[in-house]
């Protein structure tokens, strides 16, 4: 046994020694490589100085001789694969280097868009976001790394962009876009990319682009689908031309509720970068007056023709009076009936006596109270995680499954025939649907139903820190 232990120790020592040697060799290789790089890059200049010019003649490098396009020799090398494209070339790259693009939102769409825009050499790249990096963002917000969890997304995204391309200007706008700051921020850029995740922001950004006369590259993704178009480009339609009336709030699903396959916003974000690059470089035909619809599940992309600018449009139409002042005073949250931030609403639908906190509920479990806990989340949520012994009846099927609740209550009744039977609690993810359920249960005669305030989120926060949240 002891000789076995000796063997292990010896092997570990050998591994350590070899790793040391390996590190030293790798270091020597990189030093030599750097020397080689230096020698090679200096060689042509030396030759010119020595051979062609005397002391009074300033050195002329090949790049200096041909600076008419405004590209430095470093830029020529960095962007050479763009310059080699006959349909892009020096002119388009030069346009790109002189352009400025603002990306609103450094999330699922903004991440890939920013990476490509930084890499391709947009002269000035702005990033607006007020959020911080979270672990449950990372499956799709690929610009951020684990080291930045808890830090502002703008800071993280800007650092990533700078590490890709240190030669362009990156501007950090670490704030939420509002009517009070949007005009000032957007006016500093040639092109705007809408990479946000909610309806009021989309109306606000489009209206602001109209009053400032900026083209808007708009992308959206949810679940396994994506959509893309360019608004307000050379007389084309704006967002309001297409959607004059906001959709009902129930039709505005969020990634945090409905889920999203990470690569889907990735694809749409890349296409947004592409459209912005085309506009900035003045090449090709931007996706204006057309819309791209992407369905990941069936692997289908459809490009459809959409209406042109509407003469009756409230914001860009012929008789509109909408201007910067109106924009500043416009209430987008009221207009769309939904908040500008992505934070889900906190409803307060039922009376305090019909609600208990997660801590109170825990006490009742500890006290052995006879009760039934109904979890009204959708089945696929329940499958992720649930409180033991809870009964899953999704809100949508509550009406049809009331008998199940009645029989569960009967089973839990402490003593046969006792009137004051088991209690009934309802829980969901955040405490909104549970209130809707309790409201309905009261209406159907289950007057004892109480909702657990804040749902599983508060359970995880206040009672069981090991309870997985999603």
């Amino acid at each position: 046994m002891e000789s076995n232990g000796d063997d292990v120790a010896r092997i570990l020592r050998d591994i350590e020694a070899l790793k040391d040697t390996k590190a030293r060799i790798e270091h020597r290789i990189s030093v030599l490589e750097a020397q080689l790089q230096e020698t090679v890059s200096l060689a042509p200049r030396k030759q010119q100085n020595d051979g062609v010019c005397n002391v009074s003649c300033p050195p002329i490098s090949a790049a200096d001789a041909n600076l008419a396009n405004g590209l430095s020799s470093d830029s020529v090398y960095r962007y050479s694969r763009h310059l080699l494209l006959p349909s892009f070339g020096v002119q388009a790259q030069s346009n790109l280097l002189k352009s400025s693009i603002l990306v609103v939102g450094a999330g699922g769409l903004g991440s890939p868009a920013l990476l490509y825009l930084a890499a391709c050499g947009v002269g000035r790249l702005g990033i607006v976001d007020h959020d911080v990096v979270e672990l449950n963002n990372m499956h799709r917000q690929v610009i951020h790394t684990e080291a930045y969890i808890g830090q502002p997304k703008v800071k993280s995204a800007a650092a990533a962009c700078r590490s890709i391309n240190s030669t362009i200007q990156i501007v950090e706008h670490r704030e939420a876009l509002r009517t009070s700051n949007a005009l000032e921020i957007l006016s500093q850029y040639d092109i705007v990319i809408d990479a946000t995740d909610n309806a009021p922001s989309r109306y606000m950004i489009s209206d602001c682009c109209v009053v400032l006369g900026k083209p808007l590259v708009s992308g959206a993704a949810l679940g396994l689908e994506g959509q893309l178009t360019v608004y307000n480009y050379k007389g084309g339609p704006c967002y309001r031309c297409l959607f004059p009336t906001p959709p009902p709030t129930t039709a505005c699903q969020r990634c945090s509720d409905s889920g999203v396959l990470g690569v889907v916003p990735g694809i749409i974000g890349c296409l947004q970068a592409l459209e912005a690059i085309k506009i900035a470089a003045a090449v090709g035909e931007p996706l204006s007056g057309r819309m791209l619809l992407f369905d990941a599940l069936s692997a289908r992309i459809r490009i459809v023709k959409i209406r042109g600018r509407s003469l009756q449009c409230e914001v860009c139409g012929d008789n509109t009076t909408f201007n910067q002042e109106h924009f500043r005073d416009f209430n987008y949250e009221k207009f769309t009936q939904s908040p500008l931030s992505t934070s889900p609403p906190k409803l307060n639908l039922i009376a305090a006596e019909s609600r208990i906190t997660s801590k109170e509920y825990k006490e009742r479990i500890v006290n052995g109270e006879a009760h039934v806990l109904v979890d009204v989340r959708p089945e696929h949520h329940y499958e992720i995680v649930s409180i033991p012994k809870s009964l899953n009846i999704p809100l949508a099927s509550l009406e049809a499954r009331l008998p199940e609740i009645s029989s569960a209550l009967k089973e839990k009744q402490p003593h046969e025939g006792v009137e004051s039977g088991a209690n009934l609690y309802v829980i969901c993810r955040r405490g909104n649907d549970s209130q809707r359920a309790v409201q309905y249960l009261h209406k159907m005669g289950f007057n004892i139903a109480k909702d657990i305030v804040g749902g599983l989120e508060s359970w995880a926060h206040d009672v069981d820190p090991n309870f997985p949240m999603y």
Binding site: G105, A220, L222, E225, T245, P246, C255, K305, R307
Partner: protein
């Protein structure tokens, strides 16, 4: 009349999560042509299984739904008065806001 109907952007959830429906729609009694108005009422009766308010508002689609007839916005073909022909493809898509 043979038509292909497609639902997307979440609208498929209103018709049992099926995105593509190959359907046969009869002309209304006495009519010589089928319009989008006729088709909408056919869809609400025959395909929409839940939450009809998520699809229709009044006699048209609810705000936020784009209607495309043969890959073209129905605003360009006369909206509710658009006349449909054999083998036409009609897409109903809800606009997305996520990112």
């Amino acid at each position: 009349m043979q038509l292909t109907l497609e639902f997307g952007g979440g609208l498929e959830l209103l018709c049992q999560s099926v995105k593509i429906h190959n359907v046969n729609v009869d002309l209304p009694k006495g009519a010589e042509k089928l319009t989008m108005k006729d088709l909408l009422s056919w869809v609400s009766t025959n395909l929409i299984k839940e939450r009809p308010e998520m699809f229709m508002k009044g006699e048209s689609v609810r705000p936020g739904v784009l209607v495309l007839v043969n890959d073209c916005d129905w605003e360009l073909s006369g909206q509710l008065d658009t006349t449909l022909e054999e083998k036409d493809v009609v897409v109903f898509i809800s606009t997305l806001h996520g990112g």
